[in-house]
């Protein structure tokens, strides 16, 4: 198919929406489709070959923060020309409710339009006040996608109607290979240190379950003198260290916030990755990343994890909140290299269902559903 994708935010500024569009576009291209992405960007910006600049985005206060948005005559004209010359089978607009290129594209096009809603708003005054203005543009969208249950709920509340849920994908390949962090031997058994358990997530958020892991380490650390704990994620490092008994403290490494690159290395530095969450997870992106890295996983048996880990086949499960069970399960796993190897292989296989190629397949089915008549996208005559 020939797909036109509209990105509302500046391409070269890091952000979830931009990352989503990049991964989706590249997955679609890998499947053999033609993709063109129009995005706010300077004309001399460094863009991938499939991206088209629509002019500079200006920072404006919007919805409680400063967003870089593209609007005005120049952007509008460029969007029209891009639609006119693109000959797209389907137009895919991201975050169409933001006052940026997405809205301009809805305005300027007729034909099969798919809209993906990313953000969730608690109570957005912007969306309520401007809903009548937005509505006539948003009414042109034939198929709406929400990337999370929260995004879908706020969409239904503010604008009515319904949307299908297609969650973000995981770029599993990005996590597949990395060297362990210096000082950690990793799963391949390189130099530096003994066995290790890993954790990644907000340390000051009790629902992520770090206290459960720390209590389990009080038991485990005494029985296994070589065992170390590698903790990464936002939170106060001193605060975490204070919760560990002094004799074990030097075996707990607290990294704090880590770069994307180091995050991947964390997954490759430990013998088992622990996800002790107590609930509130809908999917567990961290779990999916650890699975992509092939880390043997030890997770609490909350519903979301049970589903992702195929009921325990792709990772060991323990009763949520039970630190003694966690300690016992971790000891069993650390003593059984064959099982770790098997869990690692199963995890890599299971996470493929969440890979971008699967997500792109679902998005393609949406395209085919709305564009089934084959009419294609044309420039809107009156612009209304």
């Amino acid at each position: 198919m020939n797909v036109g994708i509209v990105c509302p935010y500046t391409w070269n500024v890091p952000g979830g929406v931009q990352q989503h569009i990049r991964d989706l576009a590249e997955a679609l291209i890998a499947l053999g489709h033609r993709v063109s992405v129009i995005t706010p960007a300077d004309d001399d910006a460094d863009l991938p070959p499939y991206a088209v600049p629509a002019g500079r985005a200006v920072p404006v206060p919007y919805n409680g923060s400063v967003a870089r948005l593209a609007f005005g005559f120049l952007s509008s004209a460029r969007v029209r020309r891009w639609i006119n010359e693109g000959g797209f089978d389907v137009l895919h607009v991201h975050e169409p409710a933001a006052p940026s290129l997405g809205l301009l594209a809805c305005w300027a096009a007729d034909g099969p339009i798919v809209g993906t809603f990313h953000a969730s708003y608690q109570r957005s005054r912007a969306l309520s006040v401007t809903a009548p203005i937005l509505r006539s543009a948003l009414e042109k969208i034939n198929g709406r996608i929400a990337v999370s249950e929260a995004a879908r709920t706020s969409l239904v509340e503010h604008l009515g109607g319904d949307a299908v849920l297609i969650p973000n994908g995981v770029a599993t390949e990005r996590y597949a290979m990395a060297a362990p962090l210096p000082g950690w031997r990793g799963r391949a058994g390189g130099p530096g240190g003994g066995e290790a358990l890993g954790f990644l997530g907000r340390m000051d958020e009790p629902r992520k379950g770090l206290p459960v892991l720390l209590r389990a380490f009080e038991i485990l650390g005494r029985r296994r003198p070589g065992l170390r704990l590698l903790l990464a994620g936002p939170g106060d490092a001193g605060d975490v260290a204070a919760r560990v008994t002094p004799e074990l403290r030097d075996r707990v490494a607290v990294l704090g916030m880590v770069s994307e690159e180091d995050k991947i290395r964390v997954y490759h530095s430990v013998d088992a990755f622990v996800a002790p969450n107590l609930g509130g997870e809908s999917f567990g992106i961290v779990l999916a990343e650890a699975m992509s890295a092939g880390a043997p996983i030890l997770a609490s048996d909350i519903e979301a994890f049970d589903r992702v880990l195929l009921g325990g086949r792709a990772g060991a499960l323990f009763p949520a909140g039970d630190h003694e069970a966690l300690a016992a399960a971790a000891a069993a796993l650390l003593d059984d290299p064959a099982r770790r190897k098997q869990l690692s292989a199963e995890a890599r296989a299971a996470v493929r269902a969440y890979d971008w190629s699967s997500v792109a397949r679902d998005v393609l089915r949406v395209y085919e559903t709305v564009a089934y008549a084959g009419a294609g996208v044309v420039e809107s005559g009156a612009g209304a």
Binding site: S136, E139, K140, N142, G143, R144, G160, G161, D162, A163, V164, D362, R365, V366, E368, T369, V370, Y372, A373, A384
Partner: protein, 179 residues
């Protein structure tokens, strides 16, 4: 005096003109919503037909046991021949039949492992079932917005909707089979 008279006339002409523009804009919007409902309905019908065809193809493929084939073929046939009143029940029954057949232990592995076009049939079945779910969401979304627009006072007072019937939601069980 004459001057005031002209101002008054001009004022009312302007008012009538603006009201006319507004009403025509609302009528255009409503018309567009109705067109969207029709397009979405056509896509939904196409998706349903395609799913029934995929179910029939699987039933006729000799990849299943005769009893399962008969269950699928019957459900698919009912879905394709049902009249408007029974359509939603028949399509829900087809969803349930597909799930019952696909829920057998290691169904996908067995069918795809048979060689021949087993994997293709399964791919077509899972794709067409997913598209039914998408198409139905999109159709109901369009219906919800058209109905909301029809409830507005202006649309009720003026016959802007023409003779277009108030569209109905399409409610079926469309959970896809796990293949």
């Amino acid at each position: 005096m004459l001057y005031h008279w002209i101002i008054d006339v001009l004022f009312w002409v302007a008012v009538v003109f603006l009201v006319g523009v507004y009403v025509s804009w609302r009528a255009t919007r409503l018309d567009r919503l109705h067109v969207r409902v029709e397009t979405a309905r056509a896509a939904l019908d196409a998706a349903l037909v395609r799913r029934a065809a995929a179910a029939l193809e699987l039933a006729a493929s000799r990849l299943l046991d005769p009893a399962a084939s008969l269950v699928l073929a019957t459900a698919a046939h009912e879905a394709r021949t049902a009249d408007a009143d029974n359509r939603e029940f028949a399509e829900s029954d087809l969803s349930r039949a597909l799930r019952a057949v696909a829920d057998q232990p290691d169904f996908a592995g067995t069918v795809a492992g048979e060689g021949g076009d087993g994997a293709d049939v399964l791919e077509e079945l899972s794709s067409s079932a997913a598209k039914v779910a998408y198409a139905r969401r999109f159709y109901n979304d369009a219906v919800a917005q058209a109905r909301a627009a029809r409830r507005k006072p202006l649309i009720r007072v003026l016959p802007l909707a023409g003779r277009a019937a108030l569209p109905d939601f399409f409610e079926i069980d469309d959970d896809p089979p796990g293949v």
